[in-house]
Amino acid sequence: MSGRSEQIQALRKARPRDRFLRGSLIAVACLVLYSLVMGDFSFTDIFSKQSQSRLATFWEYLSEKDEPGSPRDLIRIDLRSRALDATMTTLWLSIAAMFLAGLGAIVLSAFAARNLATAEPFIASQKPVTAAKRLAWGGVVWLTRGFLIIARAIPEYIWAFLLIGLFGLGAWPAVLALALHNLGILGRLGAETVENQAPQTPAALRGLGASRSKIYLTDLVPNALPRWIVYFFYRWETCVREAVILGMLGVTSLGYYIFNEARPRDLYDVMLYFTMLGVGLVFCADLLSALIRWRLRKVS
């Protein structure tokens, strides 16, 4: 029996261990502990007397019935009548943004893919390549990737806040904000898909004298397409959620009615009504996207 436990001990000692991962784990644990100690999170905050009384007021307003025909009731009816409009605006914002992001990603993925945007794509060049040319191609990849990472690192909401401030209120800065962030993500994923493709066909095409754009459009894009469509719909789901909240910045999507119309008037039932419309819209988008992804997986 003791031989057995010694064997187990020996196995335990010989198990694969990684210093980097272990260090990372300790660092993460320390970070979480530090955040707890710093008092960012305390239950007394949410259960304080102040928040209790606020919650009571919230329920009171929520359950209160206004006289039919009273000014408050008229506003409520007016706001509710704009539900369809707000829902459709939310939907259109998300679709327009993803359309532009998808178009941009098809173009930028080519310039960010290291196997295509290089002085010698797929096969060695017959003529010696000058250092300047190599440097120029390196610069192209570097600049494209730099742009993509900046676009991705800044969240949609912050892009929208900045662009609405600069362009003035309108649908276009909101669409541009959603498109920029998603372009950053789709462009990066797109470039990875292109880089991971089998190099045989592109090399053969290159050997026949095909240009980079011909290789990209006739081989790399068609092969990457199923994957890209999956990514596209994954992002669209998120984009619908984001389009809801961009309303808080003044675009008339669902968030506008929640934050700028219903909340200041204490019409909490209208607030929840529009929130649930958002939930319904996101749910439908999820369902459609899951359906399309499922069908794609089935046929391909």
């Binding site: 600069l166 649908a171 968030g255």
Partner: protein
């Protein structure tokens, strides 16, 4: 085979055409014309000024100090929200998966009801954006740092629960079946037969979500928590564009550093 390939291409072409048609229709519905995409002269000057300031971010010691402190706060809120979400995600993900169920449990209406209820809850948590949760908290109980963390955590719990349950349901079943057949309780089957197999994927996904938590934590600053978002908002409203860019670069640097670290961690987990 040829026919199937043909159908396949046909449906894909239809899908692409549908996307393009919907995209154009959306732009038309929103009244976005090519002319409108280019800012007018008046706002164009502001746009130019803002993006030119990207080349000359403010580098004063006080600005950098504020940026560093805000970045640390952003990191703290992201870490806390993610930690809470991982725990919540495991609990709900366990309840929302079926792989650990003993054979025959599928016919039990009570279990099926609980599964449907859990999945509905998961979907609901996920469908409301973290900022919207923040607004609801703001209205119902008043806003505090804790409410901010929970606002981020709720949709993240939903996402984790969904992904964890899917990963666990897709993990190989042989070990779980063997444990179940030798009389292990469902919880043990889950903990020792299924979870270890799905763990690499789960860890990789947590790393990816932490990047999203960083961004969410920055944005929640717009609601009064001193993360990067708050300072970006204040500096932009003062038209202090070089300072705005310092904070933006701070956020970008955080994402890049985290990306490099998580990339190498993911590669090591996969081995």
């Amino acid at each position: 085979m040829a026919k199937r390939l043909d159908q396949n291409l046909g449906s894909r072409r239809l899908l692409l055409l549908g996307i393009v048609a919907a995209g154009v229709l959306a732009l038309v519905q929103l009244g976005i014309t090519p002319g409108e995409m280019i800012p007018s002269d008046a706002s164009g000057a502001g746009v130019g000024k803002f993006f030119l300031a990207a080349l000359t971010p403010a580098t004063g010691a006080d600005t950098l100090l504020i940026a560093a402190r805000a970045a640390l706060t952003t990191l703290r809120f992201a870490a806390l929200a993610t930690a809470i979400s991982v725990v919540g995600g495991f609990v709900l993900g366990f309840l929302g998966s079926t792989a650990w169920w003993p054979p025959g449990a599928r016919r039990n209406p009570l279990r099926l009801g609980a599964l449907v209820a859990t999945r509905a809850l998961i979907t609901f948590m996920r469908s409301v954006h973290e900022l919207l949760w923040a607004v609801l908290f703001l209205t119902a109980i008043g806003f505090s740092a804790t409410a901010g963390v929970i606002a981020i955590a709720i949709p993240f719990i939903g996402t984790f629960a969904k992904i964890f349950s899917e990963m666990i349901d897709e993990a190989p079943r042989a070990a779980a079946d063997a444990l179940g057949a030798s009389g292990a309780s469902p919880l043990r089957v889950y903990l020792f037969g299924l979870l270890p197999l799905a763990l690499p994927d789960i860890l990789a996904y947590i790393l990816y979500r932490f990047e999203c938590a960083l961004r969410a934590s920055a944005v929640i600053g717009f609601f009064g928590i001193p993360t990067l978002g708050q300072y970006i908002k204040l500096a932009f409203e003062d038209l202090n564009y070089p300072v705005v860019w310092t904070y933006l670069y701070m956020l970008i640097a955080m994402v890049i550093i985290f990306d490099l670290w998580s990339g190498s961690a993911r590669r090591r987990i996969a081995h």
